[in-house]
Each structure stands twice: as structure tokens, then as C-alpha cells.
């Protein structure tokens, strides 16, 4: 990738403009069309499938902007599906924005079918990737042996759906491909949280410098400065951990990606919660969008099973095995 004459950061301006356009687009198909037109849905898909064939680090600034800009589309899922199905017809359809697709992140179906959940925007797409108990996954088509039911959802931008599968058919991913997808998802979710956290911090810092109490801006008070400094530390911790996970020099990519995601969930929620605190009563209003970032971070934690992953971390610690020895994938 070193022969490319552009860097991941070169995507952020484009991505920001697209996210702004998406914010006023009519519906999900319109948003996906905008994203596809800019090439962002297929950023990770091979060029043969109509994508850009770029490495994971190029998706990071794009998803960071998506997180900051409250993007109401399953972009992370779309990027990953277009990459995972490389070489199958469906990859080009997803990369090109022709087939709207998402992933049901929680639960597994057996050979006969079953119920899975936490599919962001599952009620508004055509296809959903569902995981199977044997470690593989299948992309089912809604209305053809599978139904989506909108669920209660903390996340407002990407409401989740439950998927009931009766007839299991569609293109499949093998267990290795599924593992690679889950690994990449950990880093990319962290990128979404990074963007949401950056925006929450920026809003809090701006507000603290505008709002005057006791004759001074809030930012003149050390207690408020320290709140903001801790939020800054949290944001930079997420950023640096993502960078480490993607670095060629990282000794333990599996543990690093997992820790990046688990840590980002806690840190991202911390930033949003503290940004609300710095806003006072204003922070508790529906119109100030900080709660949207908080809802998003908490929902991403559930979709990525952050709580369960802590058990994996402990198992790995107890195994006495070095983190380096964890098999790499993806």
C-alpha cells in the first residue's frame, strides 16, 4: 500500500462533505446512494468488485466522520460486507449501493433458522448477514425466508431490528472470513466512536468557552478545564490505540484490536457523559445531540459485545499465554 500517493487522512474532507449531504438526504436509499457515489461504501472492496481495494486504515477517517456526523446508515456493515464477499456477485451490488445490507451482530442461527438481533437499520434494508452456530455466516434476503422486525433501540440514527430466519439461503462466508470480519469490525467501530467522541469534546469545549457564569467563561474554571482535559485524554487514547492496532509494528494485533474496541466503548461513553455534564441543564435537552453520541457508543458496545469480550481478555490472561501467541486473522 506504500506506493499509493494518498494517505488515509486524505479521505476525511470528502467524507465530511458526504456526511453533511447525508444529514439532509430524504431516506436510507438516498444516503447510501450518496455514500456509494463518493466510493465510500466500496472503500474496502476489491477493485474487481467495483471497490477501491484499500486497507482498513483508509476506512478509519471515513467512519470517524460518520460517527461525528450522526450518519444514519449502516456504513460500517456495508464496507465490511462488500469486502468479505469479494469475488461473489453480491460484493459489487453492495459496494455500488444497489443492495442495501446490514449485519445482525448478536445471536446465531442453526441449520433450521432462528432469531438474531441488533441489526442496525435491519428493517430498512434488503439483505442481512446472520451468523451461524458453526462459525460461518449467511447473507439472507428479507421477504425471502427471513423477516425483520424493528426493535426497541437506544441508538436513534441506526435503529436496530430483530431478524427471524425460517429458510436459510443466500451467499455464505466461511469461518475464517467471519473471524476476519469480526476483527475488522472491532477497529472500525472504534473509529465510529472516535468521531462521536471528537464531536462531543468539541461541542463541550466550544460551549465552555461561550457560556459565562460568575462573570467568566466556564473554561476559565479549573474544574471545567480538567473535565475537558480528561475528555481529551480519552479521545487521544482511542485515536492512538486504533493507530497501534493498525500499525505494521504491532506485536499483538488480535489483543490490540479487542482492547481498542473494549476501551473505546468505555472511553467514548465517558466523553459523551462528561460533555453532557459540562453543558449543565442544556446537556439534558433532546435538541443538544450529545445524547445521540452516548446512545450510539452504548449501542456499538452491545453490537460488538464489549462486555463479553472482557471475559475473553480474562481467559487470555489466565491461560498464561503471551498475547503475541494469539493467532492472527484478517
Amino acid at each position: 500500500m506504500s506506493d499509493l500517493d494518498f494517505s488515509p487522512e486524505d479521505f476525511s474532507d470528502t467524507a465530511r462533505a458526504v456526511m453533511e449531504a447525508c444529514a439532509t438526504a430524504a431516506d436510507l436509499p438516498a444516503r447510501i446512494a450518496l455514500l456509494a457515489e463518493a466510493g465510500l461504501t466500496g472503500i474496502l472492496a476489491p477493485e474487481d468488485d467495483g471497490g477501491m481495494g484499500l486497507a482498513l486504515d483508509y476506512a478509519v477517517p471515513v467512519l470517524r466522520e460518520a460517527g461525528a456526523g450522526f450518519l444514519a446508515a449502516p456504513l460500517l456493515e456495508t464496507m465490511l460486507l462488500a469486502r468479505a464477499f469479494a469475488g461473489q456477485d453480491v460484493a459489487a451490488e453492495i459496494a455500488g449501493g444497489k443492495t442495501l445490507a446490514t449485519i445482525a451482530w448478536v445471536g446465531e442461527i442453526s441449520g433450521q433458522g432462528g432469531v438474531v438481533g441488533r441489526a442496525p437499520l435491519g428493517a430498512e434494508v434488503a439483505s442481512v448477514l446472520v451468523f451461524r452456530t458453526d462459525g460461518t455466516a449467511v447473507l439472507v434476503t428479507l421477504g425471502d425466508g427471513a423477516e425483520a422486525q424493528a426493535d426497541d433501540s437506544l441508538d436513534l440514527e441506526r435503529p436496530e431490528a430483530t431478524i427471524t430466519v425460517k429458510d436459510v439461503n443466500g451467499p455464505t462466508l466461511d469461518a475464517t472470513q467471519v473471524k476476519a470480519l469480526l476483527h475488522a469490525a472491532q477497529i472500525l467501530r472504534s473509529a465510529l466512536i472516535l468521531g462521536a467522541s471528537e464531536d462531543a469534546l468539541k461541542r463541550a469545549a466550544d460551549y465552555a468557552q461561550e457560556r459565562v457564569q460568575f462573570g467568566k467563561p466556564l473554561s476559565a474554571y479549573q474544574a471545567v478545564q480538567h473535565h475537558l482535559a480528561r475528555q481529551c485524554l480519552a479521545v487521544e487514547t482511542i485515536r492512538n490505540s486504533i493507530a497501534r492496532s493498525l500499525s505494521a509494528h504491532c506485536e499483538t494485533p488480535v489483543a490490540a484490536a479487542r482492547a481498542t474496541f473494549v476501551g473505546s466503548c468505555d472511553l467514548g461513553a465517558f466523553v459523551a457523559e462528561n460533555a453532557i455534564q459540562v453543558h449543565g441543564g442544556m446537556g439534558f435537552t433532546w435538541d443538544v445531540p450529545l445524547h445521540r453520541h452516548l446512545r450510539f457508543a452504548r449501542t456499538l458496545a452491545a453490537q460488538g459485545k464489549a462486555a463479553e469480550l472482557k471475559e475473553d481478555v480474562m481467559q487470555q490472561l489466565l491461560s498464561g499465554q503471551d498475547k503475541e501467541k494469539e493467532p492472527a486473522h484478517g
Binding site: 469545549a205 465552555a208 468557552q209 467568566k216 467563561p217 473554561s219 476559565a220 479549573q222 478545564q225 480538567h226 475537558l228 482535559a229 480528561r230 481529551c232 485524554l233 487521544e236 487514547t237 485515536r239 492512538n240 490505540s241 486504533i242 493507530a243 497501534r244 492496532s245 500499525s247 509494528h249 504491532c250 506485536e251 499483538t252 489483543a255 490490540a256 482492547a259 481498542t260 473494549v262 476501551g263 472482557k310 471475559e311 481478555v313 480474562m314 487470555q316 490472561l317 489466565l318 498464561g320
Partner: protein, 397 residues
């Protein structure tokens, strides 16, 4: 070991020197220095100097210093690779980290060639142990308020005043001394740095007992101490710039091994508890989730360290960003120490030696960790740096 150097071939920047460092450390660390074993006696300063001189001979210390000054001339990436292995090894902290990680880099930055040739190899060979004479009774966080005075005379400089919290001063032979040439009102102007010999007449060093029971730091008094001109570092007005550089190094790259040492401490605690039926439940059930959080924090800390190293290799300055790893590490490590103390407090009275060893180590870490949010700039000072210099918040003045 017939071969003394761990780094047999000068490694290219792309191949990790880690495995060679690992092999050397495994073969050479004496049991008497192992922090994960029960020790009857503390190692003496002489034992530690001997060990550290061997580390240098093996190429594991001073890797980034030019060969002319006793180093290996390798890059920061090699230093990171070696630091990881040093961290993974339960060995004592250096008694000369001030020399190796603060004085050395400063001398390289502002020293004259003859000073470099004189001071630098002596640091790596452990012929000189350095201390850092910055803080004073009335100048801690507000370092620019220091009063120790240096006056230029025909014989050199005459210094009067007092330093405090000077780590390792009673064991040191040289002091990186920050003093002022003008008046206190000059604040950060007119500050001068010296490489003072601590056996100079008029230097009086008194140990202070610290909460971990050690006599690790000292008060140092200067009564008409004459320092020859050739022991001044940089120009008389360069002290503050050099000092802030020292502090930014201290925060960012000093003890690069600490994430991996932290991990070694966690692994020691977990493996010792898991190996014993009387304590297994503590780590497998009772504290499993909190221990997982510690492990995640260690990875996040590595994210700061490794990304910072990458950024330095790309030629970027550290600046205020050095506050990020310092703040993150000190608080994460303190939280770990508190958790570890609670876990070892539940060990049975008839505990085995391995459990006693881990309990002793964790108790010591807990007490020592109280200092981690104080030295090298307190937590409140780091938060202030982030607010002012990274976020650039309106101070309302």
C-alpha cells in the same frame, strides 16, 4: 555466556532486536535481582551498578546513543523493541535512569563535545550515577519559582540554595542542577544548568525517608559551592529551554518499558493466584472483570507509547502530548495497584513462598504508586497542560 553482546549483528531498523534482547535477559538476570521471587536481602547499589553495566555491555542500554559516546547508534524503534523485553523482565528499575534518560539526552542536546565524551560513557558504564536537582521547597509544580542562586566569579560559578525531593542524590556522583543567575522575578529567564559533582565541598545531602520505607529521595543544600565553568551545560540562559525539554522527554519517552513492566506485574499476580487452589477463585471469579479492565488499559497505554514512538520516528516534536501517556499510565497503574492490594489482602495466612512473593511485590507497588501521580508533573499539572496547550481553552483572562 561467552558472548557479552546480546546484539551480535548491527540490526537494521526493520528487523526487531527484541528476540536477541529476550534471550540475553533470560540467560543473564540473576535470581537475586528477580522482583517476582522472594528475596531475603535487597540488592545493593553496587549489585545494581554491576548488573546495569552488564546490560550496557550487552547493548541493551544506550542503544540510541551514538557509538562515540558508548551507545549503539540504533534508532528509536530498536529502543522500543529492547524496552519491551526489559519491561517483560521482572528486574529492578535502573538506579541511574536520571543519567540515562534525562541527563544524557540533555548533554547530547546542549553539551560541548568534550563534555559529551567525558560524561556520556560514564553514565552507560555506571561510573557516574546522576540525580536531578530541579525541585525546591518553594518551587515544585511552579518550577520557575526556584531560588537556588548561581553567581559567576573568576573561579567559575558559586552556588547557594537548596533542592528537595532529589531522587537518589545520596547514591549519585553527579547532579543535573538547575539554578538561577538573576532574581526570582525573572521566572524562567536566567536559569542555568550544571553537571555538578556531588562530592564538591559545600554540597550537603540528607536522605528523606519516603512512604515506601526507602530513603529514596533527599534534601540537598548548597553552601558556597564552586562549580568550574567547564561543568556548565549549554549557555547561562539556556537552562529553562533545556529543562522543559528534559521534562517533556521525562513525560513521553522515559521508562519506555513501563507498559510492559506493568503487564509483567499483572501477569505475575494472575499466574501466582491461579496456580494455587487457595487463591484461584480470586482471579478466576471474584476479580476477573476488574483484572480484564487492567489488561485493556495496558493495551491502551501501549497505544500511546507506540504511537508516540512512531510519531517521533517520523520527525515530530513531542511537545505537550507527552502529558497523555504520563497521565494515562500513572492513573491506570495506581488503579491496578489498589486492586492488586485488595486481592493479596485476601491471601491465606499459611501462604506459600510464591504467594508471599507476589504479596510483597504488590504491597510495594501500591505504596510506590502513590508517587506516580506526583513526580514528573502532578496529575493536576498534566491536566492543565492538556487544557491550555492541547485544547487551547480560553482562560478568561
Amino acid at each position: 555466556m561467552t558472548q557479552t553482546s546480546a546484539l551480535a549483528v548491527a540490526p537494521s531498523e526493520t528487523r526487531s532486536v527484541g528476540p536477541q534482547a529476550r534471550a540475553w535477559l533470560d540467560a543473564n538476570l540473576p535470581d537475586a535481582l528477580r522482583e517476582d521471587m522472594l528475596q531475603d536481602n535487597k540488592p545493593t547499589v553496587a549489585d545494581l551498578c554491576d548488573w546495569e553495566a552488564r546490560l550496557h555491555k550487552a547493548g541493551l542500554v544506550g542503544s540510541t546513543w551514538p557509538e562515540a559516546y558508548g551507545g549503539r547508534g540504533l534508532g528509536l524503534r530498536a529502543h522500543l523493541d529492547i524496552s519491551r523485553e526489559i519491561g517483560r523482565t521482572p528486574m529492578p528499575e535502573s538506579v541511574n535512569s536520571i543519567g540515562k534518560e534525562l541527563a544524557g539526552p540533555i548533554i547530547m542536546a546542549v553539551g560541548r563535545e568534550d563534555q559529551k565524551l567525558d560524561y556520556l560513557p560514564a553514565i552507560l558504564e555506571m561510573r557516574d550515577i546522576w540525580c536531578q536537582g530541579f525541585s525546591e521547597p518553594n518551587a515544585g509544580s511552579d518550577l520557575a519559582g526556584l531560588r537556588t542562586k548561581a553567581e559567576k566569579t573568576a573561579d567559575g560559578w558559586v552556588v547557594n540554595g537548596q533542592k528537595i525531593w532529589t531522587s537518589g542524590a545520596s547514591k549519585s556522583s553527579r547532579c543535573l542542577l538547575l539554578a538561577r543567575t538573576g532574581s526570582v522575578e525573572d521566572r524562567h529567564r536566567g536559569l542555568v544548568l550544571f553537571a555538578l559533582r556531588t562530592d564538591t565541598p559545600g554540597v550537603d545531602i540528607r536522605e528523606i525517608q519516603s512512604i515506601d520505607g526507602e530513603r529514596s529521595f533527599c534534601e540537598v543544600f548548597f553552601n558556597n559551592v564552586v562549580i568550574p565553568e567547564e561543568d556548565m551545560l549549554g549557555s547561562p540562559d539556556e537552562g529553562w529551554a533545556a529543562a522543559t525539554r528534559v521534562l517533556s522527554i521525562e513525560r513521553a519517552t522515559n521508562r519506555m518499558h513501563r507498559s510492559w513492566r506493568f503487564e509483567n506485574q499483572l501477569n505475575h499476580l494472575v499466574s501466582a493466584c491461579a496456580a494455587n487452589p487457595a487463591t484461584r477463585k480470586l482471579v478466576e471469579v471474584d476479580y476477573a472483570r476488574q483484572l480484564a479492565d487492567v489488561s485493556v488499559n495496558i493495551d491502551l497505554l501501549k497505544g500511546h507509547v507506540e504511537t508516540l514512538v512512531g510519531s517521533l520516528i517520523d520527525g515530530n516534536e513531542i511537545g505537550p502530548r507527552g502529558s497523555l501517556p504520563k497521565l494515562f499510565w500513572s492513573e491506570a497503574h495506581q488503579n491496578f495497584a489498589t486492586l492488586a492490594l485488595e486481592i493479596v489482602s485476601r491471601f491465606p495466612p499459611d501462604m506459600s513462598d510464591p504467594l508471599r512473593a507476589v504479596r510483597r511485590r504488590m504491597e510495594d507497588i501500591y505504596m510506590k504508586a502513590r508517587a506516580e501521580t506526583i513526580y514528573a508533573g502532578t496529575t493536576e499539572i498534566q491536566l492543565g497542560i492538556i487544557a491550555k496547550r492541547i485544547l487551547k481553552l480560553n482562560q478568561g483572562k
